[in-house]
Symmetry: C2
Subunit: 194 residues, 2 copies
DNA sequence: ACGACATTCTAGCGGCGCTAGACATCCTGC
DNA sequence: GCAGGATGTCTAGCGCCGCTAGAATGTCGT
């Protein structure tokens, strides 16, 4: 009774991850507009309704992929920050660079995390830990004494997101991203805001 | 022959604008996901295929609405900039504030301009004038002597766009937008980059 | 008045997210 | 060992989407 249900639970969790991975791969190869419930079902070799026994709807699948993405982004930012010298400017620069690299390397994943509508809760008590962890990497680039460091992190993140998404859609020239990054970091870290 | 065709042309242009306006209003009231070709056709009291005699597809309709948006945004930024004192910092602040106000006042229009996929050409030779004009308002906030002012404008715009879109989707708390704006402007205008 | 042309509509294609209800499979208690 | 009920899966289909072919309607120059 118990052992059987455990096995079932394992199989279920396995299939859950199978769906998420398939969705992510499909999105990364062909873009999110190609991720339909039919194609996804065919790819995991189950019929459509099983998707709905795991997820409330398509948005929830996108949300699960996004969560996967945060679990990848957070340690990546962390490693970048720790590898940098302890000068505050260097850490900030390293984290920002790692962020932009992530955005250009995994555009579909990035979209799921920051552009597409999902049911993920941001900036609240029920914010999933990986999500919080990624944001905290930005916060930790600023002095713990400064009680405005969350604000600084929000602005930094906003600027990076804007750069990522506007250059990704061709609204600003994708070439000069490095120059923009240099300027941004120098301005944010440059003057220790009044 | 000529007069008749002129009348036809006029009627056609009139109906073109009717479609664009209807799409915009529908989007502003119910969001873009409610803007379907069927509902739009019903609203302008024509059948679906006439939409396709004016626009190549739905993306082109969104693009036309976006262009409308730029024609509104550009003079708004311009007025804000000219109303501000000539000190560079003040102008930048005024333009940024006007931009964010536009984004929160007209979220659907803003989405069409900057988020949804359209067939508008940015940052190229065939960029429509209103689009270029809006961007130039940011450029003109910086000294004409500095040959990096385009770069500054791109970063400023990116940051604002990030703030607008992340707070609009609840990914950063929508409340502290003013504080973020203060910080951003002080950092960008504060130190005259290296 | 009428043939030629342009315009607009009806009807429908294939695909979407999602779900009801039939069907198979497996565990449990006798 | 087996009936019966719970569990899981599938087939089929609903209402909607963007888009288009071809019929029907109207309009114009001669």
């Amino acid at each position: 009774m118990s052992a059987i249900n455990e096995r079932r639970e394992r199989e279920r969790a396995r299939r859950h991850q199978l769906i998420v991975t398939a969705a992510r791969e499909l999105a990364e190869v062909e873009g999110w507009e190609a991720v339909t419930t039919r194609r996804l079902a065919e790819r995991v070799e189950y019929s459509q309704p099983v998707l709905y026994s795991h997820f409330k709807g398509k948005d929830a699948i996108v949300g699960a992929v996004a969560l996967d993405g945060f679990s990848e982004l957070a340690p990546r930012l962390r490693r970048a920050r720790e590898a940098a010298a302890p000068e505050p400017g260097d850490a900030l620069r390293a984290v920002c660079l790692a962020y932009l690299e992530f955005a250009t390397e995994r555009p579909a994943l990035y979209q799921a995390m920051f552009v597409l509508p999902t049911d993920l809760k941001f900036a609240s008590d029920e914010t999933p830990p990986p999500l919080r962890a990624a944001f905290d990497e930005f916060v930790n680039c600023f002095s713990p004494d400064d009680d405005r460091r969350e604000l600084f992190a929000e602005v930094t993140w906003s600027a990076l997101h804007g750069m990522a998404v506007l250059s990704g859609s061709g609204r600003i020239p994708p070439g000069s991203q490095d120059d923009r990054l240099d300027f941004l970091v120098s301005q944010i870290a440059g003057t220790p805001a009044d």
